[in-house]
Amino acid sequence: MQAYKRIDITKDQVIPIAEKMRKAGVILTMIHGFLNEEGKLDISWEYQVEPVIESYHVVGETTLPSIGEIYDCAAAWPERELNELYGVEFEGLDTSKRLFLPEEMLETQGKGQIMVTPLEELRAKNIKEG
């Protein structure tokens, strides 16, 4: 089994950790996110400190610092995706263009709706709108 270590941090630690990892040549695997059962955002930065994945979690924050300056597109793309899917604001991130979701969906439903709205509600809405 692959090793995976969860480490809880505060949002102030996001950039220092990213800088330390980048300096050490560590690959940023991904930035993941989900809404936990308490309704709080759980955003995690996964770094490949081989053979372990070190997963740094920030829970309950809707505005976070962007590490796009440090890890370029490897960070900017997942940050843009989380912005579209969950409405997370990453300070300093350019979100002027769409990434995955259609422009009309982002305009009519707004960012951060798709993953938090129950599927039944989305289906019903789609049927109603034809």
Partner: protein
């Protein structure tokens, strides 16, 4: 004269939808932008309403080329959350399927690359040999795509002695044509002229932009999850990881061609040392325990990462899928700069992009 040349999202030179904007001065590409998301199917969202077995079927449909990789990584995540130990024979069968998948994917890409270059006789020759691998996958799983070989806790279908002998014989038969394909790929003047020095991605840029898999290894970045963080008994097998330093399209051809040999090597070792015992832990529908896991698999195009979150019920609480093309596509604008418009199609194709995977 400056022009903006749009390519796609639907274009005869593209197998899948992507939109690229090339900012050109005459024939020279000065800058480029890529736009994705024309294929978004909301698979991650759908997964939150599926149980573990249904999700295996669903994630296999993320991509038709690396379907086994998606199911395997998802199963690894659930097994890690639940603390399940997969029987050794099941792991070996998973490895055999994964390496056959890599073999057919790399041969597919080599063929497509030759087609884009304009070397169509080579394209047909490679795809002819690829049929042998597709037949083996069909023999092994019953399907040419979406193999359904993975279940939570092991593999779904066993390999008997007759099939084992057939697989070994066919792989042996493949070696001769493979030698010929690799020899032509490495020495043919047409291929060299169209690929050497084209679409260069330097090592430091590859690391900064997060390139992964054969694409990164062609730029001198020595990464491979099978060796760096072994899973599924990959630690039991001896294989090399080809790394080339030049970072151009030719390097990507070399890396993928040489990786085909390594896959054959791994499959032969797995078949010859196939352990006895069960292939899985039974057919009971598992609950996904409360917790989360992040697992990685070296898919044909590079590292595939999935995160699964469970809340103790049968359905997933969250499934997050991050595919190799997610990491490699952002490198395309950098590689396009300074090249001619005529090479744009080849450079985009050189990362072996999968927009079906990327958009999910």
């Amino acid at each position: 004269m400056s022009y903006i040349v749009p390519i796609g999202p639907y274009h005869p030179a593209l197998e899948e939808p992507i939109h690229a904007k090339l900012y050109t001065e005459g024939e020279l590409i000065k800058d480029a932008e890529v736009f994705v998301g024309y294929n978004h199917r909301g698979i991650e969202k759908l997964a939150t309403e599926r149980n573990a077995i249904q999700t295996l079927v669903l994630v296999e449909r993320v991509c038709g080329i690396c379907s086994h990789s998606h199911a395997l990584t998802y199963a690894m995540c659930v097994e890690q959350i639940n603390g399940v130990e997969v029987p050794k024979r099941g792991e070996y069968i998973r490895v055999i399927t994964a390496e056959l998948e890599r073999l057919h994917s790399h041969l597919l890409w080599l063929g497509v690359a030759c087609h884009v270059i304009g070397h169509d006789s080579m394209f047909m020759h490679i795809w002819d040999e690829r049929e042998l691998v597709m037949d083996l996958l069909e023999e092994l799983s019953g399907n040419r795509v979406n193999y359904a070989m993975v279940t939570i806790g092991g593999a779904r279908r066993d390999i008997n002695d007759e099939l084992k002998a057939k697989l070994l014989k066919s792989l042996d038969k493949l070696k001769g044509p493979m030698d010929r394909i690799v020899e032509i790929a490495l020495n043919d003047k047409t291929i060299a002229l169209r690929t050497k020095g084209v679409g260069v991605l330097e090592k430091d840029v590859a690391v900064r932009l997060g390139a992964i898999g054969p694409h990164a290894r062609a730029s001198g970045v020595d990464v491979d999850v099978r060796r760096d963080s072994p899973y599924c008994s990959y630690g039991d097998f001896k294989f090399d990881i080809p790394v080339v330093q030049s970072g151009d399209v030719f390097a990507r051809v070399v890396v993928r061609a040489l990786e085909c040999y390594e896959s054959i090597k791994i499959i032969e070792q797995a078949l010859n040392n196939l352990p006895d015992g069960p292939i899985n832990l039974g057919n009971k529908l598992p609950k996904i325990q409360k917790g989360s896991a992040v697992c990685r698999h070296e898919a044909p195009r590079g590292q595939l990462t999935q995160m699964v979150v469970g809340n103790g019920g049968f359905n997933n609480y969250r499934v997050s899928i991050h595919v190799p093309s997610y990491k490699n596509t952002p490198t395309v604008p950098y590689m396009l700069r300074g090249n001619s418009v005529a090479d744009a199609g080849l450079i985009i194709a050189s990362i072996d992009p999968c927009f079906s995977c990327l958009d999910r």
